[in-house]
């Protein structure tokens, strides 16, 4: 019975809740039991938030009885450790923020709370969202529920793994270079990164401000679309948020792909290092979409090769500034036993930040330094403009762009940690969407060697509805629903 309740979509759960067959408290209990059972092996959660789920589930049950429940009433949600929730320890996966309890809740999370969501806990991630495997967490790595020896992807690996292993119905992640879409692909769930500016970043502990976006993980495109529609929309606290109507993300998204033109960028299709099994799964997906009436067209994104380089200038540059505030003076880790303030800074930061964070802070500091700014940061911004133009040109030929989300399936834990560059290559198909600020989704599209493969759909700016439309048509035609894995004590593939 309880396992049945941990593989539901929002739609399924809401039906049961409204019918009175179950209460929100039942749903929460089922999930908590599931977490107790599987999370010691998956390690998706950093912290559980019992106080919150008790009050929120009570509130949801009261509202459901009264008949004024919000669209997410009683739905268990997991929140990535970079999103501030009032009173809940929020650390961005870093030791430097250990013990930090924000005095406020970020906008996106508050909006989902208002819609009735019930928070189960805080999910693990790469430190400050820097990484593609969740191995850079300052606490512990998260394991892929489909194969515990493998990574869940990252940086939002905890959120992806939680949804994939039945430990939450939906989860929030953030995507700076692929950090929602790539772990969604590797864990076999739906993950959506909205257009830059669609969702307020207020309350998101910044990694790279011009690239970061908050988005949902879910078991269906419908759930992802609903969740996004509830947290989107203008926020006076985020000047980069758009005043476009939140509900437009749902416009016509159930209309199917008949007559749509779907572009396959050759630079993405034949990207270096793409696994044959992944390519085969994408070919199969393209065939299904074509059968549904979509026209597959060849497009080109000629500056793709420069994207990775530009990304690894811009993101570190912004992070070097964003992370300057972690100085041990006001909150978090503080090495006060230092002879002077400068030593206090360096001791706190050396102890509090992991290797990858330090690497990026140094890279970014260098790139912004006087005498290097033009050669690095300014040049990277110009490349960014070229990448936007590539997409503009592509969207003149097609309605959406489709590709693999990740060139590979989930890789073994530890296999890339010694080689940062090979880790950076995980995001080669996703970070273009961040540089250009575009909406993108990853939906499950079969397996390769028994491990999930993700299909990425990228849309034009503000074209979330287009992205959802293609993704939903594919989901429906392929019957490729996100599965729930039940990880065994020894590595074992879950049931699909």
């Amino acid at each position: 019975m309880t396992d049945d309740l941990t593989s539901l979509t929002i739609q399924d759960a809401t039906r049961l809740l409204r019918l009175g067959s179950i209460s929100s408290a039942d749903l929460v209990t089922a999930h908590v039991e599931r977490i107790e059972r599987v999370d010691p092996r998956v390690k998706a959660y950093l912290r559980l938030t019992q106080d919150l789920w008790e009050t929120q589930a009570d509130e949801a049950d009261r509202k459901i009885r009264r008949g004024d429940a919000g669209p997410l009433a009683g739905i268990p949600i997991a929140i990535k450790d970079v999103l501030c929730v009032r009173g809940v320890e929020t650390t961005a996966g870093s030791q430097i923020l250990r013990g930090f309890r924000p005095p406020y809740t970020g906008t996106a999370v508050s909006r989902l709370f208002e819609a009735g969501a019930v928070m189960l806990g805080v999910t693990n991630c790469d430190e400050f969202a820097m990484g593609s495997s969740t191995e850079n967490s300052g606490y512990f790595p998260t394991h892929n529920p489909w194969d515990l020896e493998r990574v869940p992807g990252g940086s939002s690996g905890g959120s992806a793994a939680a949804v994939a292993s039945g430990e939450a119905i939906i989860a929030l992640g953030t995507d700076t270079g692929g950090s929602i879409r790539q772990p969604a692909a590797l864990c076999g769930v739906v993950g959506m990164k909205p257009t830059y500016g669609r969702v307020s970043r207020y309350g998101l502990i910044a990694f790279a401000s011009s690239l970061d976006q908050i988005g949902p993980f879910a078991r269906s495109v419908d759930d992802a679309a609903l969740t996004l529609s509830l947290m989107a929309g203008y926020d006076p606290l985020d000047s980069t948020s758009s005043d476009r109507a939140a509900m437009e993300v749902l416009n016509n998204y159930g209309a199917g792909v008949k007559g749509m033109r779907l572009g396959v960028p050759r630079e993405y299709y034949d990207v270096a290092g793409i696994e044959p099994g992944v390519k085969a799964a994408i070919d199969a997906a393209l065939f299904i979409l074509q059968k549904q009436g979509a026209e597959i067209v060849d497009v080109s994104l000629p500056h793709t090769d420069y994207g990775l380089a530009a990304y690894y200038i811009i993101a570190p540059a912004e992070c070097s500034s964003n992370l300057a505030r972690f100085d041990g003076v006001r909150y978090g880790l503080s090495e006060v036993d230092a002879p002077n303030i400068t030593a206090e800074y360096s001791r706190t930061r050396r102890k509090g930040f992991g290797t990858e964070v330090r690497r990026r802070v140094m890279l970014g500091t260098y790139a912004l330094s006087s005498g290097y700014y033009d050669a690095y940061y300014l040049k990277a911004q110009k490349v960014r403009t070229l990448i936007k133009r590539d997409f503009d040109a592509a969207f003149e030929k097609c309605d959406a762009v489709v590709s693999a989300t990740s060139p590979t399936v989930a890789f073994p834990i530890g296999s890339k940690t010694q080689d940062p560059l090979s880790m950076y290559l995980c995001d080669v198909l996703t970070l273009g969407g961040n540089l250009a600020g575009l909406p993108g989704i990853s939906v499950p599209c079969g397996t390769s060697d028994g491990l999930p493969v993700g299909l990425q759909v990228l849309g034009p700016q503000w074209g979330e509805n287009v992205v959802f439309r293609v993704a939903r048509a594919y989901e429906e035609a392929s019957e490729m629903k996100a599965g729930v894995a039940t990880p065994g004590p020894s590595p074992r593939r879950g049931e699909g």
């Binding site: 970079v82 999103l83 501030c84 929020t90 961005a92 923020l97 930090f100 924000p102 005095p103 406020y104 970020g106 970043r201 207020y202 309350g203 998101l204 502990i205 910044a206 790279a208 401000s209 011009s210 006076p236 606290l237 985020d238 000047s239 980069t240 540059a317 912004e318 070097s320 500034s321 992370l323 300057a324 505030r325 972690f326 100085d327 003076v329 006001r330 909150y331 002077n340 303030i341 800074y345 500091t365 912004l368 330094s369 006087s370 700014y373 940061y377």
Partner: protein
């Protein structure tokens, strides 16, 4: 000695008049409020927070730029100035680097044209209080973030000033302009206006600029003047004895009356400026700028000239009245409503400016007319003025109620004057023995008994009676 020329450029930080801080909703604290009482998650720089631009600060900056005849470019943006210091909660200051809000202005000070390079907006830092000496030696240091995020306009001039006098007068004129347009209260003691002169000297007749020093910690116009004088003298002595001036920031010590070398905030000053990604570039609405331009009041320099040429005021009167927009408005409105210009100007300079108590212009006109018609004495006018300010009743009502009037008729005063003479034989004797001041004692006695007496008539009467 006489062949050195002083060259000064000014950087002035001004706190625009706003209710809230630059990027959050916190109210702006007064100087002596308890530490960390005007703070929120945004100005504390807590993780996850974002800035949002205060429109009132932008408006004040545009008004200032317009008053200083600056150009306002179509595009402007904010940048991050990165450096770590405990009074800077985010590890960077949001400022403006290469696309400031305004450029290329001009302020005329006593006939000298001072070019304004730029006026831009930024946020203030917090304040450190050290128990002990400097930060690196202190036993304990405390951080007060009440000021963190308070808006600041930075007004940068070209090096067009040539003396300490000019620099001081420039700063005073700037304050006058800022107050007149309502952009800032510009009170130096409250830290709302901070002047930092860049001082260098060169041989007269040469064009190349000498090595400059930037002076900080200046808390008054007097300190500004003295700091520059000291610094010019210091540089001159250095250069004349074969030394060189080092480009650096120097603090002004009020107690020791000297400047001293200050350690820079960072050992190597590379601020790694880059565009603030949390704030989209601003494209200022041209119609709004034109609205603000149209609503700008007459600038103090122009008003001052007009008060002299049209109203016949002295330069001193005109300077005092035009320095304060409220005074100038009161003066001109009262005159328009029939107040006699010169006595009214005199009244405002002597009675209103020192007290800051403003009366309704129509009431002032009424009072000044009575005073000029010699219906009441100046003392009575003063009483009536302040009573009217406090009660809101008209001066005419107050004068009538108190029976104020001025008696200029000798015959009415003669009885009182005779009584005063009879009652003060000593003063009378002193006067007759040549002590002319004794007359004042008698006059005071007379005015005690008859406040309504016209002082001039009373004096003449006493003189006549004493023969």
């Amino acid at each position: 000695m006489a062949d050195w020329e002083t060259v000064i450029g000014m950087e002035v930080h001004v706190q625009p008049k706003t209710r809230s801080k630059m990027f959050c909703g916190c109210s702006v604290a007064d100087v002596n409020e308890p530490p960390n009482t005007h703070v929120c998650e945004i100005c504390l720089g807590l993780p996850g927070t974002l800035p949002a631009i205060n429109r009132a600060a932008v408006e004040a900056c545009i008004k200032t730029a317009l008053a200083l005849r600056c150009e306002i470019p179509r595009h402007t943006k904010f940048d991050r100035k990165n450096y770590m210091y405990p009074d800077l909660p985010k590890g960077y200051q949001i400022s403006q680097y290469d696309l400031p809000m305004s450029v290329n202005g001009l302020l005329e000070v006593d006939g000298r044209k001072v070019r304004i390079r730029r006026v831009h907006l930024e946020e203030d830092t917090g304040k450190l209080v050290h128990a002990g000496d400097k930060l690196h030696k202190a036993w304990e240091s405390y951080v007060d973030l009440n000021r963190a995020g308070v808006p600041l306009m930075e007004i940068v001039s070209e090096p067009d000033l040539r003396s300490a006098d000019e620099a001081r007068d420039y700063a005073i004129e700037l304050r006058t302009v800022l107050r007149a347009i309502g952009a800032s209260e510009a009170d130096m003691e409250k830290g709302q206006l901070r002047a930092e002169p860049n001082v260098s000297i060169r041989r007269a007749g040469t064009d190349a600029l000498g090595v400059k020093t930037e002076l900080k910690n200046i808390n008054s116009f007097r300190a500004l003047h003295r700091a520059i004088l000291y610094e010019v003298d210091r540089q001159q002595k250095l250069l004349e004895t074969g030394g060189t001036v080092v480009q650096e920031t120097r603090g002004w010590s009020e107690d020791e009356e000297r400047t001293f070398s200050q350690r820079s905030k960072e050992f190597a000053e590379d601020y790694r400026y880059f565009p603030e990604p949390d704030l989209p570039p601003l494209e200022l609405d041209r119609a709004w700028i034109e609205e603000l331009r149209a609503a700008l009041p007459e600038l103090p320099a122009i008003r001052r000239a007009r008060l002299v040429s049209q109203h016949g005021l002295t330069a001193g009167q005109a300077a005092i009245i035009s320095a304060d927009r409220d005074l100038a408005d009161l003066y001109e409105t009262a005159v328009m409503q029939g107040a006699p210009p010169l006595p009214t100007a005199n009244w405002i300079v002597n009675e209103v400016a020192p007290t800051g108590k403003l009366l309704d212009p129509a009431y002032l006109a009424e009072l000044m007319t009575m005073l000029q018609a010699k219906d009441i004495t100046r003392d009575q006018a003063r009483e009536a003025y302040f009573e009217s300010v406090e009660t809101g009743r008209t001066p005419a009502e107050i004068v009538a109620e108190h029976g104020y009037r001025q008696v200029s008729d000798e015959s009415e005063l003669r009885v009182i004057a005779e009584a005063v003479i009879d009652a003060n034989p000593k003063a009378v004797a002193d006067y007759r023995n040549g002590k002319t001041q004794a007359l004042n004692a008698l006059l005071n006695e007379l005015r005690k008994k008859a406040p309504q007496a016209n002082p001039k008539v009373a004096r003449e009467l006493l003189l006549k009676l004493l023969g």
